[in-house]
Structures are given as structure tokens and as C-alpha cells.
Amino acid sequence: MAFAAFQTAEVVPQAPRKRSRIALFLLLPGLLYLVLFFVTPLISLLLTSLQAPTEFGDIGQYDYAFNWQNYVTVMSDYWPHIVRSFGYALAATVFALIFSYPLAYFIGVKARRRPMLQGLMLVLVIAPFFISFLLRTLAWKQLLSDESFIITSLKALSLMAPDAHFTGTPFAVIFGLTYNFIPFMTLPLYTTLERLDLRYLEAGSDLYANPFTVFRKVTIPLSMPGIVAGTLLTFIPAAGDYVNASRDFLGGPDTQMMGNVIEANFLVLLNYPAAAALSIILMAAILVLVGVYVKRSGTEDLL
């Protein structure tokens, strides 16, 4: 389980028991639930993705078939959205990481001696959770609209071209994604940094490493589990998000992501096979990326 690494408490070795009846009783209800409401929908999504339009049918009418061309079609129609989704998600992940690392470091390491302050800062990090995600995004949309104080000031300071605008651009969407997922990045980072044993850093400086080298060779590698968790928790939902890029929020026509395409196909175009095929592609791509990433970062034992 990728995320099990971030638990706060020490793991106590457990003598594993093999008492399958109790285990079965404990596992069955939950697993059955997931089979029913997670696995089955995925399978039906897979089947839907292979449907073909009903002959002489009305809009939105399809029959089961083995129409794998759906995948080819959506790939060729929507490849820019696929690329865009992963591009935006990647950019948001990188920005969130850059933003969050120093913050998490301060809370987890520098503020260790002051539990009250640490607690307060953690509350502030999760504070955005308390205000609906949508409202926060809308707040930014207003704060960054063309005639807003921020944008007009930037223009007055010539930091922005006079005819430029922010909302509806890729920057706005990436900005929104970044902002919205910062807590998801900061908290796992905080969790590992909070547990970072400073004696390793001292050992590093005792062994002639200057502060920068200690950071590079000791701090970063030791906080890798947090980095991996944070980036996954940011990247996965960001890649599938459709609120930030929605035309009613921070996006415009040329910033639509896969989530928007899936939504439009499901709800507007009533092209269910296309929506399903895109969903399957999105999920498969994420799984492949996560797998490669976790392997690469040497944290596969977390899975």
C-alpha cells in the first residue's frame, strides 16, 4: 500500500495468525462492498467502452459489441486532452512540491520544539479543506478576473501585458490545480519530515558535509517516502480533475482536460462508449505511470 508508509506510529512486529474464519468475517463485508461498487462498475465501464451505436437509433443509444475502434477514435480525437491532462497534472505536482517542501520542513522540523505552533500551522494547512473546494476555486476566479485588483495591479506594474488575461488560460488551470492540492502534498511531506531523525543531519555535518550537501544527500533521500506519497496524492486526482479546468471555473475552451472530455461525452454528447474508453485509458495510464514512478524512486516496498 503506497500510503502505508506515512503512518505516524511505529510498527510493532505482529505474529501473523492464520485463523481464516475470523479473517473472512472481517474482510468479507468490506471486500464485497468494493467488488459490488468498485469492481463491477469498472467492468461495466469496460463493456460500455466497447459498445457501438444502435442502428437507426436516436442520440445516446448504443448496443453491446466488441467495438475496440472506440479506443482508436477517442485517442485520435482527444490525444491533445490526454497530453494536456498529464502535462497540467505534472506541472501542478511539481509546483505543489516546490511550494510545499519548505513549508512542510518548517512545520515538521523547525517547529518541533513548539507543539502548539506546529499544531496551529497544521490546522492552517488543512484549513482550505474546511471551505468547499469549489468555493475556493471560485474565489480565485474572482480574485484573478480581468478587472480584479490583482490583475489590474500586475498590468499597472507592467508585469502583465495590457491585453493579457489570466482566467481561462492554462496557467490559471495549473494554478488552480496546484492550489487545491497543496494540502495533499504538504501533509505527507510533513509526516515524513516530522519523523526525520535530526541526528542523521548531524552525522552528515559531522562527516564534513556542508548544509547544502546534507540537504541533498541526507534530507531529501530520507524524505523520499513523503515525496512519493505527496506527488501521487497530487498527481492522480489532478490528472482526473475537471473542476479547475471547467469553463465555469478557471478554464477556457482550450484548457479542457480529460475529465472535462469524459464529462462532456457522458452528459452532453451522450457518447457513452467514448466516455468509457477515455476513462479506461485515463485509469490505465495513471496506473502505469504510478508503477514506473514508484519503481524508479525506489519506494516500491511501499506498495
Partner: protein, 359 residues
């Protein structure tokens, strides 16, 4: 198979006799409203009939509204609205799929006031399922402070000075209707793929170049208000409403090459258990005086005959308002988008949607 329209759902049993409420899903800026945000005519309706109205601005765009409720409709379930207001072509789809309940005209005696020209549309002969709420034009509008000189045609929207500040509607028939007319096509007439393709290219170019800031449903009003857009393709009466709300800043015009003309209709969704209440509501708004009062506020074309006379009683100037009571000349410049076959619908919608999605 997914999607609706095959095994037709059956209508819910009517509990109006005991349940004195009605849920109404409508578009933004589409009813009279006072300064406190209350709806005077609705209050009057409740007073007169004892039926409480739950008025919800739930429709932003025909397609997205349909997307939200279609699964429930297919199952014949309550969608949370006892009457929804939808545009002709969408209403036609609902009727085709069996998603509407047949109206009992006995409950709507005021139906006699229905403008005769609207009595027999091809999608609903004899108005068995629908009743017009308002009609209107799609045209162009602009921010008078930002564009003091005003604009006249769709082409003016493509002026580079407005780059990134132009909005167009997600309603395909309106946006494409205006562009087609700008291209010299008679949208009510006999046009086909080549004309549509040419028009879509115009739109595509403007979207891709960034000239068009956004493509939206009724929420284009929010962009106008926040001034993210300074000019847009808009619906006629809306401008009056936002002028009243946010200061007299905007102006509407039917473009020189022609605007579109359409009607939005009441219908009763198949799962609604309060059809009689919905019919009482329709009946109420078919009273010419009530219709005039609404019209005075929303500035859309009222389908109720006799409303003009009632309006003169309120304010004689209203009768001259071309957006409410268009004369022949005005009407001659607006056209009804011809009906599309199922295949055309699917194809044109997909082409249009691909622009919304920025592919």
C-alpha cells in the same frame, strides 16, 4: 443498452391533490424579481392557488441540464422538477423519448391565450406536451463603457481589439445560427454540411486564436458582469435583467446579418407526481396581465396574446419594446433554426462540442 428512449417510462401517479407544491426548473434571469430577490408573480400564484413554488435556476444550457437528469428520466423517476423550461429542439427530444407527460388542457383554460402562431409546432402538434414560456432572439451584446462605439455584426466580435474578451453561447443553434447568417446562410432554409462546416471553421479559428474567451450557457452573464468578456453572443432579454441588477452597462442588438428566434417551453417530466400543480402554474402565467408583468421585467417575447394590451396598462413604452413585442421589421431580421434529423443533430453537436473542448 445505455441511453434513453427505448422502453418508454411510464408517468408517475399524480399527488397534486394532497401535495400543494410545485418544483420549477428554469433559466437564469428569466422571471420577474424584486430588489430583495423575491419573485412577485410567484408569490401571487401561491396566494391564489395555495401551491408553494420551489423555483430553481437549474438550467444553464439545454444539454447540461439534460445530461444531469437523463438517467432519472430513463427510469421514469422524479428529477426534482415538476416543470422544466427547455428550448424547442430539446423539448422535441424529450417528447420523442417519452420523457414528458401529456398535458391536460382542461387544467389550463388560459391556453386560449396562446399566440396562434405557436399552436402547432411540428414537434408537438396541438401542444399536447409543451407550452411556450418565453421566446426571444439570440444576438450580440456589449459593454457600453468598454466599447462606447458599439458593435453591429458578428464580425465585429472578431475585432482584434476584443481579443480574449469575447464570449459565445454553448447553445449550438444560437452561436452557429448567428455565424451561418453572417456567412449569408438562411438558417431556416435548406442548408447542409458544407455551410455548417464553413461556419464551424470560423468559430474554430476564433476560439483557437484566443479571440473567444469562453463558451458558456446562461452563465455568460457572470463573465459579462466580472468583465472577463466585453462583448458576446447573448439572449435578448438577459441584458435588460443584468442592467437592472448591476447598473446600466450593457446593450443588446440583433446583428445586421440576422439573429435567431426561438421559444422555450414548459413541459412536465415523466417522473413528476405533481402535474396538476404544474398545469395550474402554466395556467397562471397564461393570464395576459401576469404575462405582461413578467415581460416587463425579463424583456423576452411573450407567447401570451393580450399581454401587449395589459403591458400598455403598466407602461405604454413597453409596447414599443422590440424585444418584447417585436414588429414585422424586427422579426424579419430573426430566423428560426431549421430542425435537424437525428444524424445531423449528433454530427453537428459533436463538431460544435469539439470546439468547446478545445480539441
Amino acid at each position: 443498452s445505455t441511453g434513453g428512449g427505448q422502453a418508454k417510462p411510464t408517468a408517475a401517479a399524480d399527488t397534486s391533490a394532497t401535495d400543494k407544491t410545485v418544483n420549477w426548473a428554469n433559466w437564469a434571469a428569466y422571471i420577474d424579481e424584486d430588489d430583495s430577490g423575491a419573485y412577485p408573480t410567484l408569490e401571487r400564484f401561491t396566494e391564489e392557488t395555495g401551491i408553494a413554488v420551489n423555483y430553481e435556476v437549474a438550467v444553464d444550457d439545454n444539454n447540461t441540464y439534460y445530461g444531469k437528469v437523463k438517467d432519472q428520466l430513463a427510469l421514469g423517476k422524479d428529477i426534482g422538477a415538476d416543470t422544466a423550461v427547455l428550448t424547442d429542439w430539446m423539448a422535441a427530444r424529450w417528447i420523442r423519448f417519452g420523457y414528458t407527460q401529456e398535458l391536460n388542457h382542461d387544467n389550463i383554460p388560459n391556453i386560449v391565450n396562446l399566440n396562434p402562431a405557436l399552436r402547432d409546432p411540428d414537434f408537438d402538434k396541438g401542444r399536447a406536451h409543451t407550452l411556450p414560456w418565453q421566446g426571444g432572439f439570440a444576438g450580440i451584446c456589449w459593454n457600453k463603457e468598454a466599447i462606447p462605439g458599439g458593435i453591429e455584426s458578428v464580425d465585429d466580435l472578431w475585432n482584434s481589439e476584443l481579443k480574449g474578451r469575447v464570449g459565445v453561447l454553448s447553445e449550438m443553434r444560437d452561436t452557429m445560427g448567428l455565424i451561418l447568417q453572417q456567412n449569408g446562410v438562411d438558417i431556416a432554409g435548406d442548408w447542409g454540411d458544407p455551410e455548417f462546416d464553413a461556419a464551424i471553421e470560423v468559430l474554430r479559428e476564433q476560439v483557437e486564436s484566443g479571440q473567444v474567451r469562453n463558451i458558456k450557457g446562461n452563465s455568460y452573464l457572470e463573465d459579462l458582469k466580472s468583465e472577463d468578456t466585453l462583448a458576446a453572443i447573448c439572449w435578448s432579454g438577459d441584458i435588460t435583467v443584468i442592467n437592472a441588477e448591476a447598473g446600466d452597462k450593457w446593450e443588446f442588438a440583433i446583428p445586421t446579418a440576422g439573429g435567431t428566434l426561438w421559444n422555450d417551453n414548459f413541459l412536465v417530466p415523466i417522473g413528476s407526481p405533481r402535474k396538476a400543480n404544474a398545469e395550474a402554474l402554466m395556467n397562471f402565467y397564461y393570464d395576459p396581465e401576469v404575462a405582461a408583468e413578467v415581460a416587463a421585467w425579463v424583456n423576452f417575447i411573450t407567447p401570451v396574446a393580450g399581454a401587449k394590451e395589459a403591458a400598455i396598462a403598466i407602461d405604454p413604452e413597453l409596447a414599443e419594446n422590440q424585444l418584447i413585442f417585436p414588429n414585422e421589421e424586427t422579426l424579419s431580421n430573426a430566423h428560426i433554426f431549421r430542425s435537424l434529423s437525428g444524424a445531423e443533430e449528433q454530427k453537428y453537436q459533436a463538431q460544435f462540442q469539439s470546439i468547446l473542448l478545445g480539441a
